[in-house]
Amino acid sequence: MQRYSLANLLRHALNRHTTWAPAWRRPPLKDRYQVIVIGAGGHGLATAYYLAKEHGIRDVAVLESGWLGGGNIARNTITIRSNYMRDASIPFYVKSVALYEAMTRELNFNTMHTRRGMIDVIQSWGMMRDRRRRQHIMDLHGATYRQLTLPDLRRRVPALTGGGADARLPILGAFLHPEAATNRHDAVAWGYARAIDAMGGEIHQRPPVTQLLRGADGRIAGVETPRGTVRAPKVVVAVSGHTTSLTETVGLRLPLRSMNLTAFVSEPVRPLIDVIVNCPDAGVYLSQSDKGELVIGGPPDPGQSYRRDIKQGVFEETVAALLSLFPAFKRLKLLRQWGGHLDIAPDASPIQDETDVPGLFVTAGWWGGYKAIPAGGLTLAHLVATGQPHPLMEHFTLRRFRHLDYQMETGTTTAR
C-alpha cells in the first residue's frame, strides 16, 4: 500500500499527480473464497478489515450491489457517540468511539474525525429522568455525560433561541456528551477498502447477490450473482434493510422489520453550531457540516418502507420541530434529502450472530449503525473467525429472542 504522507504528496506533485497508484485493485471474481461478505457498507468493510488484520483471514470477497460508499454509509447523519442506556450497549459503543478516534492513523487515511460533542436538549420531566439515569449508567462504563445549566446551553448554542418559558415545551435542561463526533463517511469506506485490498482482500462492486446457496448438509454453500456462483464455507450478510430479503432465500426468518430513516440538509451558511444538537422531545437532531450545511434528521417513516426518499408528513413534522427551537432557521433553504433502509428488531438492539444455517452470519438491526461500524466489524470478525461471540456483542445474539431476553434500547434519537 502506498502511504499517504507529505513526502509522497510532494514526490507525486513533481509528476503532476499522474503516478498515484489506484487505492484498490479490481480483480476478477473468483468462484471460491474462504469468506464472502455481502455488502460493502461500513459494517461489511469493517468486518473484512478485522478478519484480515486480527485473524489473518485474507481470502475474503466483499460483494457490493451498488458502488463503494454509495449505500447506507452515505445515507446517515455521521453521528458518532456512546450515550446509550443499557449496560450491554454502552461498552460496545465506547469501544466504537475509541476505534473511530484512532482510525485516521490506523488506516493512514484522513477520516476528518471532529470531536465536537453532542448536546441533548431536554423538554420534558420524563426525558430528564431518563437522561439522569443514563448519566449514572454511562458513568459506570467510561462514557461521559454531564448536565449543563440553561445559561451554559444558550451560550454553547446561540442559535437555539426557542424553547423559552412561554413555549409549549420549555427547555428544562441539557446534557453534554463530549466524546460525540462527526467524520467523513466516504473516507471511512475508502480507507477500509484500501486497507483490505492491501492485506489481500477483494472488493467487488456491482455484482448484486441474488440468492444464498445452501448445501445438501444444510450449511451455507455460497451465493448466486449475475456473474456466476461464488462458493464459500462462511457467508456474512451485512446489507442493512435488505437482510430478510436475502435470508429468506434459504428459508431463514429473522425478527426484523425494514424502515426508512431520512435526513435533509440546508444551504451552507457561516459557522453557527459547533456541536451536534439533539432534541429528543421535539423529535429532531442537527449538526453543521464542515461545508456549512445544517444536517437535520427526524423520525422514521410510519410503517415498513423500502423507499429512500422523505415522506412529506415526516418532513413537515421535522421542520416544525426544528423551527420551534431554532426559529431563525425559517429563512434557510433546504438543498437535498435522503433516506436509508435499516432494519429493526423488536427490542431496537442489533443482532449479530451465526444463524440457524451453519456458516451464515448476520449483522443487522443497526438503528443508527454508522457509529457502530468499527466495533461492529471487530466483533463480527471475531465471531466469524472463532465461532464465539465477541464479549462486547454476547448480549446481542439471536439466542436472546428464544427467552424474550430483550435488550430494550432507548439510546437512539428517533426510535420512538
Binding site: H242, L256, R257, G303, G313, A345, F401
Partner: protein
C-alpha cells in the same frame, strides 16, 4: 402522503392516522402451543419488499382500526386479499 380510506369517514389524510404495524398471523393460544412457536409468533413479522397488510388507527378521527395493503417500495395503497380486519 397517503389518502387512507376510512370505512366511516371516507378518504382521509394520513396525518390523522397512526400506523399499527403489519398484520401477523392469528394469535395462537400460549397454553396450547410450544414455547418456540409462541416466541416465534411474538417476534416475527412479515417484512416483504412489496405489498404488506397493515393495521392503521384513525386516532385523530373516528378512532376505528382498519387494515389495508400498502406497497413498501412505493408507499401506494394497493388492492389486497382482505381489507376487513
Amino acid at each position: 402522503m397517503l389518502l387512507i380510506p376510512c370505512p366511516f369517514c371516507g378518504p382521509r389524510d394520513e396525518s390523522e392516522f397512526i400506523c399499527g404495524g403489519p398484520v401477523r398471523p392469528p394469535r395462537p393460544d400460549p397454553a396450547q402451543t410450544s414455547d418456540a412457536d409462541w416466541t416465534d409468533w411474538l417476534i416475527q413479522a412479515p417484512n416483504p419488499v412489496g405489498p404488506v397488510q397493515e393495521h392503521w388507527w384513525h386516532a385523530r378521527g373516528c378512532g376505528v382500526w382498519l387494515t389495508l395493503w400498502r406497497d413498501t417500495r412505493s408507499h401506494e395503497i394497493v388492492a389486497g386479499a382482505s381489507d376487513d380486519g
